[in-house]
Amino acid sequence: MTASALTRPGERDRVSSKLAEIDWRLTGLLCIVAGVGTAMLYSVAGGQWQPWALDHMVRFGVLLAAMLGLAMVHPKWWFRAAYPLYAVLLVMVLLIEFTPLGYEPVGAGAKNWLNLGFIRLQPGEFMKLGVVLALARWYHNHTANDARFSWKLLIPAAMIGVPFLLIAKQPDLGSAMMVGLTGAIIMFVAGLSWKIIATGALAAVVTIPPFVMFGMHDYQRNRVLTFLNPEADPTGTGYNIIQSKIALGSGGLLGRGYGLGSQSQLEFLPERHTDFIFSTLSEEFGFVGSVTVLACYIAIILISLRIASLSHSHFGRIAAAGATGTFALYVLINGAMVMGMAPVVGVPMPLLSYGGSSMMTIMLGFGLVMATRVHRYVELPKGQIL
């Protein structure tokens, strides 16, 4: 590493030098997972590129280019953009809540879209990255003591808590949870005191059961109760989990063959192209296939965490770790969900599931991770960087 062009002043800002510093292992793994996703979408459409596989592939191609582009962006620009971006996203979430610009897609059960006339978007999706950047900037400017245990922690807590509550109120519980847990991971890696962690954990244990019973909407509560006992209503709310487990189990060691999974092909498996695509994969490629994909995921996560740890700036460390944390949460929550180990919440499997918003969040996040790697020797000063 020491022989890298980045260490030679004058060369490090050249695009060619920067391109050479992109982590091609990580990029390759992302391509592999997205490629598997495309193949699975081709399969569940009955061997058709339409309606999902081609979309997925094109979308990934565009976002891969965006990721590589963002990797070129100097951390100071990320740093400068952090608070304004966070503010804009927060305003958007507020607009959803308090103006007629927010709307609820038919059957979605949550008012989580913003219609700005020229564009429609889900600010809740991007809020994960907004929180990551804002917190990274805040921690960059604060000391280890501040991060461990001080009244100043109320600021990052509010940065997480305000969007969390607003999104939870929509009620897009999946996104809110992702925002909250991403924030928690960042506070943890930034060095939060174990005392606060223990207190928070205790508070969660005490408050969650009453929240489930009284604070949730019926459909959300059903999901949780169904998770606890899916067999109670096998044709209703428990149907998804039961069918998913059948798909996984019937895949066996080597799978039923590409395009031959009866659970997915005959549509017994619901949401088989989005939230439950991992079940389709497991059915058709078996234990070997699903473990291989899980191995790709853990490799992506560990490589990204390594990138975070190599950054010379605290901003880069926190931002890369935060983006990686979001990705890891996606993988673990979706994996646990399709295997019947967690309630069915609308969390997709990154890069496998069909869907533009989540893929955009994921790939922009990896843009941030990659930028951190490319600019790992850049040392940002504390304070405002203009």
Binding site: N141, T143, A144, N145, A147, R148, I185, F188, V189, A190, G191, T235, Q243, K245, I246, A247, L248, G249, S250, G251, G252, L253, S262, Q263, L266, E267, F268, S282, G286, F287, S290, V291, L294, Y297, I298, I301, L302, L305, A308, S309, H314, R317, I318, A321, G325, A328, V331, L332, G335, A336, M339, M341, P381, K382, G383
Partner: protein, 667 residues
């Protein structure tokens, strides 16, 4: 932000060190999470793989029951009298409808009769399993079927298909003997459970029908066939994606049943009854084959196949002529004068002289006067049969007592049921002193001599059914052969033997000769049945015996019931066999409340039924044609009114007779 220098080396170190440790923990926890997921995958995909593979198969493959075609029932000439026809059904799949109420509204416009059954339909649909179709209406007309298909795009979850439905092409003609099929009900299932048998799954199939009466009931298990199965691959909505030929099993059709009946004779029999009530049985006197067994009025068994509307059922059940009762087997009646040959044969066996002369003065006296319907003067046995003289047979009966009559009656075929292979037979009653001891009247178990004169003329406690009368007539006609009736000719191609070997009856052949001569005289000039029993078939003539059975006490009123309401008139009976010189067929007709004696109602109908049977017999037909007789019209085309010239005096009686069933219905 702070007054401290921008970078404290120690602080930076501390921040970085803490971050690295914490990141290591996060990486470790994530790895642990993935290991946990892998463990779960191991459990699901390796350990429990077999269980889940089975569940996936259960999802993927469905065994669709294929109903077997019910066995055909044919007459002796191979004419189908109970068959299967294609029937169109409408089914609803709840999970594919957008809005059940809206769908039913639209269906109600297409098929108005679904509106009144709406609540039942909703109940059925809601009780059904996910994606399983529920029949809403069966037996659609082609019009309705076309409409449902036309509106199919606006009726998601509604589909129309075709299945087999039982069909009785001759309607009511065979209703009682063939019976009908209907949806199995709770009682059918309870009955099977009571016999400690397993209820076949097929009974729960909405298209399955169970035999409910007659042959359909008695031979139900043979007619049913064996259900097949189609192993089909279905998607989550239950739609068939593919058929697995290897795993499918074809349905085995039910056995074909051939009866001894002749559809032409049977149809003619029901036709000649017109609006009269009663039963008729025609038999081959040599082998006992029943060519005709009819009960009138009848009902259309096709109504019962897809469920008879309760209003129609009530109309049938409430009508006083009781169309649902089988008057050939189940209904029993006093035989009246048709019983007189039994009394004659019983007396001859005890050594009576057929040439003995008894003077009829118009009444028989035993404690009181028993009336004869005329003053016949001096009578021999032949004369007494010809004239149906009551005095003669009352005299014989009182001389020998009830037990001798009863023995002869049983030997000749009364007081018993026959193994026809169908249920519903009533044995009737042949009374004797033993019977009276078993059934005392107000504690008195003595048979009084005053009861015997009525017995001698076929009245009193004596009751018989039309089948027994036909068996008895056959035995009179064939010269002492104890022929047994047979209804089922073959099942599944296997010939059914007659119930028992034909033995000779313990009477002298000469005694039969006397009775036969008497019966020949009945239908000859001057006999009681002369006018209405001329076949018009040249040399082929019919011998018979009239009968009138009182259905109430006359008191001092007029006899026979002319001018009386229908239910108070006498029963009219006629038994006959033909040809006289070489008897081939015997027929017995009972006209319930037919009124008037002397074979006015029974004889002409017996004649018409007999004509068809004779003309269909190739040997007899050849003989008729040899003698120059040319049939100018289809024997089945006779107008009923023409063949039953009723005396003018009957007219007022007709006016008081009940209206036909249809006008009982509210409009």
């Amino acid at each position: 932000m702070s007054s401290e220098p921008s970078i404290f080396f120690s602080d930076v170190n501390e921040r970085q060190g803490s971050f690295l440790r914490r990141t290591f923990v996060v990486g470790g926890l994530t790895a642990l999470g993935v290991v946990a997921l892998t463990g779960r995958l191991t459990q699901l995909q390796v350990v429990q793989a077999q269980d889940y593979a089975t569940l996936a198969k259960e999802n993927q493959f469905n065994f669709r029951l294929v109903l077997p075609p019910r066995g055909l029932i044919k007459d002796r000439n191979g004419v189908v009298i109970a068959g299967n026809r294609p029937s169109f059904r409408v089914l609803i799949v709840r999970d594919e409808t957008n809005d059940l109420d809206q769908t039913l509204d639209l269906l109600g416009q297409l098929m108005p009769d679904t509106v009144e059954r709406r609540r039942a339909i909703i109940r059925d649909v809601n009780a059904a399993a996910r994606f399983s179709p529920v029949p809403v209406k069966s037996d659609l007309t082609w019009d309705e079927f076309a409409k449902v298909n036309l509106y199919a795009p606006e009726l998601p979850g509604v589909m129309a298909d075709m299945n087999d439905a039982r069909f009785y092409p001759f309607g009511g003609a065979f209703a009682h003997v063939i019976g009908y099929v209907a949806k199995p009900n709770d009682r059918d299932i309870a009955a099977i459970r009571e016999r400690d048998e397993e209820v076949p799954q097929i009974l729960y199939n909405p298209g399955f029908r169970i035999g409910r009466q007659g042959v359909e009931k008695a031979l139900d298990t043979r007619l049913r066939g064996v259900e097949g199965g189609n192993r089909v691959e279905v998607d989550a909505r239950g739609r068939v994606v593919a058929e697995d030929i290897g795993g499918s099993r074809p349905a085995v059709p039910g056995d074909e049943v051939i009866l001894t009946l002749d559809a032409d004779v049977q149809n003619r029999a029901l036709e000649v009854f017109g609006e009269e009530a009663g039963g008729a049985v025609l038999m081959d006197v040599r082998n006992g084959d029943i060519l005709c067994m009819v009960s009138a009025p009848s009902f259309d068994p096709n109504l019962f196949v897809s469920g008879v509307p309760s209003r129609t059922y009530r109309a049938l059940a409430d009508y006083e002529r009781r169309p649902l009762l089988d008057k050939a087997l189940t209904g029993t009646f006093a035989p009246g004068s048709t019983f007189k040959p039994v009394v004659g044969l019983a007396a001859l066996r005890r050594g009576a002289n057929p040439e003995r002369r008894i003077v009829c003065t118009g009444g028989f006296y035993l404690g009181r006067r028993f009336a004869c319907h005329a003053t016949h003067g001096v009578q021999t046995l032949r004369d007494a049969i010809k004239n149906s003289c009551n005095v003669y047979f009352m005299t014989l009966a009182v001389e020998m007592g009830p037990d001798a009559i009863a023995v002869a009656a049983r030997e000749l075929g009364f007081g018993q049921t026959y193994d026809l292979g169908v249920g519903g037979q009533k044995a009737g009653l042949v009374p004797d002193t033993q019977w009276r001891r078993d059934n005392p009247v107000r504690g008195d178990s003595k048979w009084y001599p005053g009861e015997t004169p009525s017995y001698g003329i076929g009245q009193g406690a004596l009751t018989v059914n039309a089948l027994q009368l036909a068996v008895y007539t056959s035995r009179l006609a064939n010269g002492r052969k104890a022929v047994m009736p047979r209804l089922i000719k073959s099942i599944g191609g296997v010939e059914q033997p007659p119930a028992a070997a034909v033995t000779d009856l313990p009477f002298d052949a000469a005694a039969f000769k006397v009775v036969q001569e008497g019966m020949e005289a009945v239908t000859d000039v001057g006999g009681t049945g002369f006018r209405n029993s001329q076949l018009g078939l040249g040399p082929v003539r019919m011998a018979g015996k009239t009968g009138t059975a009182q259905s109430r006490n006359y008191g001092s009123g007029s006899r026979k019931g002319a001018g009386r309401p229908w239910a108070q008139k006498d029963h009219n009976l006629f038994i006959a066999y033909a040809p006289i010189d070489n008897p081939r067929y015997a027929v017995a007709v009972i006209i319930q409340h037919g009124g008037m004696g002397g074979g006015t109602a029974g004889a002409p109908r017996a004649r018409e039924i007999m004509r068809v049977a004779l003309l269909k017999d190739p040997e007899i037909r050849a003989r008729i044609e040899q003698s120059g007789f040319v049939e100018t019209e289809d024997p089945g085309a006779h107008d009923v009114a023409e063949v039953t010239p009723l005396p003018a005096s009957v007219a007022p009686a007709e006016a008081t007779s009940p209206p036909p069933a249809s006008s009982d219905l509210p409009q």
